[in-house]
Symmetry: C3
Subunit: 149 residues, 3 copies
């Protein structure tokens, strides 16, 4: 057991999101069997192509999600970032199953994903800026704001 | 040199796996030249399509592998996670070269990959659970188990 | 605010590169609208296919870039790794916009990307080797080299 292990809540959310990504990949596998689309083919019935593309989109955004989750969680607030991370997973769930139903069905989940990523982006930028002010100008803005209340 | 650098063995395995991913990408490039499949095309002779899809699958699973490697290594045991990580790289090697030969050839490497990822998942879940018990209930299960021997 | 947050400069470069990856993804979305290529389709006019493939290539290399950036930055030198990371982002910018113009236009950016990744790889290998010598043989090579000057 490492004595100074990484932030637990961020690790838990990352771990859960890996399980979700694995679930998406296995859904593609099941859809391959159902529609008899044998690798290396990636073209087939419309339903298979939607599920495949839904998973590809989740794969593309996954490293972005991880970096923003850890940036917001390490520099701003771990608990808040972890909760937003769980919301992201829920929006990905909506996106994936909506897309599997119809191309239009992906939209609401997708827009939620963007909103959630954007909120992590804002928290990350705030946290990084605060840390930079603190490190280079010795000025801890977040602490001053907290002292106001 | 940072004074508190990240766990060395996990960094070494991550570094080696980056080299392997780079090798897979360059194999796709060589296959493009051999079969005269010029970008942005991704369709061509069956051999090219198998190699391309083999690399795509490695790309899809790479962030999952990294998260599980670091979770298992940070919260359970670094040495064990690093060894399992090297096994994963070997199974990816089998998968990639098997897939390049034939679509069936990918299967044994692929199943090994899943087994190995699953074992990292179990170690990661055990390590995270233990850390959570320790942090929130002040109860270090792994330590108690070790004391039994 | 975590007391021992990750290296700030590496976090800043990672954060900026996430924004760039998001920009690439949105460029694909805009190109879908312009050329009326509705998801889940990924085939269409040549310009759309080039932009789509440019983004896919950036996605494929993104985890490799992150691992090498953090390895070089954690084990060799944070400032140097961060500067090289910004160069990588610039080369990705060249690559993406060059590829959007023509298939040949991707080449110069792509070769720069490889050169830059290779330099991060060399720094990472040097840093890891030095750390291993230090940890297992108690011999800090980089420190000795610095003492020569």
């Amino acid at each position: 057991m490492a004595t100074d292990s990484p932030p637990l809540l961020l690790a838990v959310v990352s771990f859960l999101s890996v399980c979700q990504q694995g679930y998406f990949a296995s859904a593609v596998g099941r859809s391959r069997k159902k529609h008899n689309v044998m690798p290396p083919a990636v073209n087939g019935p419309a339903e298979f192509e939607r599920i495949f593309r839904a998973q590809q989109n989740c794969v593309e955004f996954y490293p972005l999600f991880l970096v923003l989750l850890w940036t917001a969680g390490s520099f701003f607030n771990q608990e808040l970032a972890a909760i937003i991370g769980l919301c992201y997973m829920y929006a990905r769930h909506m996106y994936f199953h909506g897309y599997a139903e119809s191309a239009k069905g992906r939209l609401s989940g997708f827009y939620w994903n963007l909103v959630i990523l954007f909120s992590l982006l804002v928290l990350g930028a705030a946290g990084i800026t605060n840390q930079a002010l603190d490190e280079y100008l010795d000025f801890d803005l977040l602490k001053k704001i907290r002292q106001l209340f």
